[in-house]
Symmetry: C2
Subunit: 312 residues, 2 copies
């Protein structure tokens, strides 16, 4: 019976594909190289090939992709590192290939929805979601639904300004949370501090590798490095203010962090909670919003994309 | 025929009452003193008295009130300057009095909804609303609906932090937009500047009246006072950043300012737009969001409260 759903997480390097039930259980998953240079037609053929013995059980398909895109129209406008994916009507192409309904969603929104239906947010109705990676992606669930905004660009939460005229962000604004507290910005601030003469066990890493990653910072934090501690505190304080600012917009029950940087573990989560408590108003009980980590890991995107297809 | 709707705007000094059609035309309005010291029973009797020859035409009733309240349960928890209005099941009391369905909503949300259905936002689906008064109240419309959040406290937009560890806000947080850019905070910053020795034609006002109001600031701004210009610029810059931060949350088509302070007129609006343009990213066209003033004035609250009753 056709009562399962495909979720596709389209990335520049790999495409993750999963199949879920209508109640969001992941039945099967795989990952294939994107090979974007082959163009969208070939990429779709390869997705079809990967699931070819399973399509009988499929009712609908959801796909998550980075923007910019006209999500509601199912069209990818541009994909970083995928020059052949320009103005691609990917929903229609998949619909023709599979003869099933298709929904296209922003990748951060898809992961947010995955955590909402099957992960950290599964028992609540209002959630804010952050992915901490090269940038800070966001998603907002309000009264059980993803917010899309007037042009499919709601929840660009990394670009909330926390320091007026602060650090220049890749988006062109100054003082965005992303410019301080993404994994990349955290690594960059560490390198700047060392170059400015601050002492740290990370100096050796910088000299050996020519760069420092966010992972290096957390490894040296675990080893007791003072600079790593200071940098982590600054990141956590910015993320805490970001939590407060989104709390005052949509009032979630939970604020969920995902992405590579949460590998830092409890030490990061505890510092975010510490600064949240320090900066947030005392009008409502502090525990009326819970700050936590995502639980689905890399599966959030495929589960969320497929879950969005359940209501097609 | 009972196809009209009563809207009530419950304030500490006055109660505004209006009657609208199902398509949001204001048919009639009045204002009566609240006389809150008489207690909620008497206040409701007086509301009933004010509309007694019109109840035949009424289908349902909406009431807007300041918080804190359990809006979804129709219960006022506490009202500033109205000590007898504590834990008052106002929706049930009105329902019994009028034998009609009743909805209770936050007053800023009610005014937001009024502007949305019949004022500045009537042709759009996504809107952010700010009232600039003693504080900064907020409302968010997303995909045609008011956002309420997990505990009826969504859109507390004045408490978005724009300067970490900045000015102390009445809410207990530091650096809230409200602590800089409400009418009261604007007046307060002006007084502080004069007391710190800055030259201004407002010094005389402070000496004569013992205080400066936001209205004084805008009158002297019109007269060319340099300090009034500087203070207005700072207010406008904070409000512009607040616009950007809410834009990146819910992506409205319009951001609408209301409240006493918009009497300052175009000079304020133009400075907000100037700083918005200066600080916002260039990824989307600048004109994809419009910043404007509310158009319904004091009627927004009654129209919005009544409009919320249309779907009861």
């Amino acid at each position: 019976m056709a009562d399962n759903f495909i979720g596709i997480d389209l990335g520049g390097t790999n495409i993750k594909i999963g199949i879920i039930t209508a109640d969001f259980k992941l039945l099967w998953k795989t990952s294939i190289p994107t090979d974007a240079q082959m163009g969208p037609g070939v990429v779709i053929d390869r997705i079809a090939e990967a699931v070819k013995d399973k399509t009988d059980t499929i009712k609908a398909i959801g796909i998550g992709s980075p923007g910019p895109a006209k999500y509601s129209e199912g069209v990818l406008i541009r994909c970083t590192n995928m020059p052949k994916f320009t103005n691609v009507p990917i929903s229609n192409m998949l619909k023709e290939k599979f003869d099933k309904p298709v929904i296209l969603e922003n990748d951060a929104n898809a992961a947010c929805f995955g955590e909402f239906v099957a992960g950290a947010g599964k028992d609540i109705k209002n959630m804010v979601f952050f992915t901490l990676g090269t940038g800070i992606g966001g998603g907002i669930i309000s009264d059980g639904k993803l917010l899309h905004g007037s042009g499919d660009n709601a929840a660009e939460l990394g670009h909330i300004i926390v320091k007026i005229n602060g650090r220049l962000c890749n988006c062109g604004q100054k003082g965005c949370a992303e410019a301080y507290a993404s994994a990349s910005a955290t690594a960059k601030r560490t390198m700047e501090a060392i170059e400015a003469g601050e002492k740290s066990s990370l100096k050796e890493v910088l000299e050996q590798n020519g760069q420092i990653t966010c992972k290096d910072v957390y490894e040296h934090l675990a080893g007791g490095d003072e600079l790593a501690k200071k940098i982590t505190d600054e990141t956590a304080e910015i993320l805490a203010v970001l939590c407060i600012n989104t709390l005052h917009c949509t009032e979630p029950e939970k604020i969920v962090f995902a992405g590579g940087m949460i590998a830092a573990g409890d030490v990061l989560l505890e510092r975010i909670r510490f600064y949240f408590k320090q900066h947030v108003w005392k009008i409502k009980p502090e525990d009326s919003v819970e700050i936590c980590f995502a639980t689905l890991g890399e599966d959030a995107g495929i589960i969320g994309a497929a879950a969005l297809a359940v209501n097609l």
